[in-house]
Amino acid sequence: MSTKTNTKTFADRFPEEASIVRRAFLVAFVALGLGALFGIIQALHRTNVLRFIPSTDYYTVLTAHGVLLVIVFTIFFLVGLYQWAITRSLDRSPENITFTKAWLGLMSLGSLLAGATILLGFINEIGISADVLFTFYAPLQAHPLFYAGLAVFLVGTWLAGVDWFRTWLAWRRENPDERIPLQTFMVLTSMIMWYIATIGVAIAVLFFLLPWSLGFIETVNPLLTRTLFWFFGHPVVYFWLLPAYMLWYTVMPKIAGGRLFSDPLARVVFVLFVLLSTPVGIHHQYVDPGIAEGFKFIAMVNTMFLLLPSLLTAFTVVASIEHGARQRGGSGYLGWLKALPWRDPAFTGMALAGLMFAAGGFSGMVNAGMNINYLVHNTLWVPGHFHLTVGTAVTLTMMAGTYWLWPQITNKRLYSRPIALGQVVMWFGGMALMSNAMHVAGLFGVPRRTAEPQYQSFSFETVFGTVGELRIQIAVGGALLFLSTVLFLSNLMLSWGNPKTSGLGQTLPPALSGPSDSPRVLDNLKLWTVIALVLVVLAYALPLGSIVADSGLLGPGGNAYPVIVDVSQILTEGFAGAFDSFAEVIR
């Protein structure tokens, strides 16, 4: 923004909290940079454009890419954003800032532990690795410090929620009859969803995987731990998405020159996510044995209804920016689009992210379609889908949001707005190329999570074009994304060198239709929590019970498979001798 305001910035009003936000963002962006580097390595490797690491190391790269980007980057950004949001919307500091620093420290420690075990996988001599990918399915086993790191990270996020609930409760004591301010409402509902969601992965890690990796238990039930992971694995995507929604709902209308169309509808959307995010996880296991078709059908129905809050968001966001455009003087059926601030990278980034999210939502609808899932399960279609959703809707919005938030948490201007605009447009273009190719290749049967999708005994057949051109698309698209990330990070680093200045404060206007227009029951967080838990029990009690009844809590099988397998021995001895090789695998 080039105009000066008389508003104090967040950094002026809450300097310690601004420092927390900056620290959280710093960790997030370091993870983003490293994750992006691994991403381009993958894009070039699996397309056979440039391979400079052994294919066995590809899986270390893939694990790092996943964990750094969707655990570290997204969640550290979330805690930074939410700390800003709750502090400014309640206009109040945390009850105990040392507690705040403590949970941030725990999250950092956990990330460091898990991250280090992953990266040490590059050095075979050390014998510590976690080449288990972001989903860490047993019986593949990582080093115990990987699981310990994840647990510590999780506890850190739980304490962040405690911190924010405490702040809200203290505010409520002083403001007993007021409606929860919208951004605070979003923070609290996100955390309720998170607490429910992490039950699954916490049980899997603390009761099974961590003791198993330490040798306290011999085996685990692979289907059980996999199901517990996906209990968490679906709601986590909404944990990534809800910060982006917060930006689209509360910041984007302001940048567009207007106000949020409806506060009540925003609350309804977040409540729907609390209720429906978790009882859908089995849609990631549509083709798994051991889970009855009836449970899969229930998950499918729940998932289809989970489309509703996102569809409602599409309406509200477009309506809000249309309002902004008309405030700026735009008119006409579609002509108001011209009146939007397209030169503003914060606005354009969020708008392009939203546009791409629509495409991602549609490919998600296909994934949800139970029997259609046979065509796309574990193919490259799936990464095509999630690079549109977490990769663009979330990541690009977070980048765009940073451009807007930056001056207010640092009192410094952004180094270059044109470069920022170029960066967000490049992200959009690169992702369009890469994700398109991934979707198409997936429909032709190309698998995901594979270092070399080029096979000896058969070749992939295309309906149009060639597999070669799809590979080039992925490589070029990936390169554009990497370049875009470099531009983003450089711009921020150079911005850090800018002098502090004044007049950068921004206010967020209230919604057109305010909280008083909505029924009070929306603010009844206890009610929504109870309903959410009931739905989770209905969706998961029977499937989990059935898995345990059929093959036991600790399963037959589930013997540990530490990921460093002596591949050369297997290949030279021939596959008939494969059985003997496993007896000799040492960790």
Partner: protein, 172 residues
Amino acid sequence: MHIHKYEKLWFGISLLLIVGFIATVTYGAVGAGIQMVNNDETVNPNALSEHPKFSDPGVEQVGPNEYDVYVIAQQFIFRPGSTVAGQPPITVPANSTVNFHITSLDVIHGFSVVGTNANTMAIPGEVAEITVEVDEPQEYGIVCHEYCGQAHHTMEGVMKVVPEDEYNGSDQ
């Protein structure tokens, strides 16, 4: 709560879309008869060599045009299937019904007949059962699409649908 007219319209269309999707998927399930992988047999992955069927995985005729195929997925081959590793290809005659029974010896693998909707997971302790109709003679590739270790990308196989007169009985 004031809801704008257009928002109510949009809400209505969204619900219609959602119900429509549920209806088409339900049709696929009960009308077209596409069954999802269900909760069938469990096995002991440490004792597959003692299992009546998995001790000798392969193709077995069970009806006039019906065949059972037992496949073991393990690091990093399909038995049968992985011709690159000396295993026989999965061979069935054209115009028949094929029941796959797939399990894993060690870690979680994927099993996908490329270009078809025969796509499932091989989980140790569980048996994935899917039934497909094979039509004309053709050769298909099989991939493992779930990361299963360092040589995951080498895990591939072949399925051959041969003309009926060329099929010479369970040959595994």
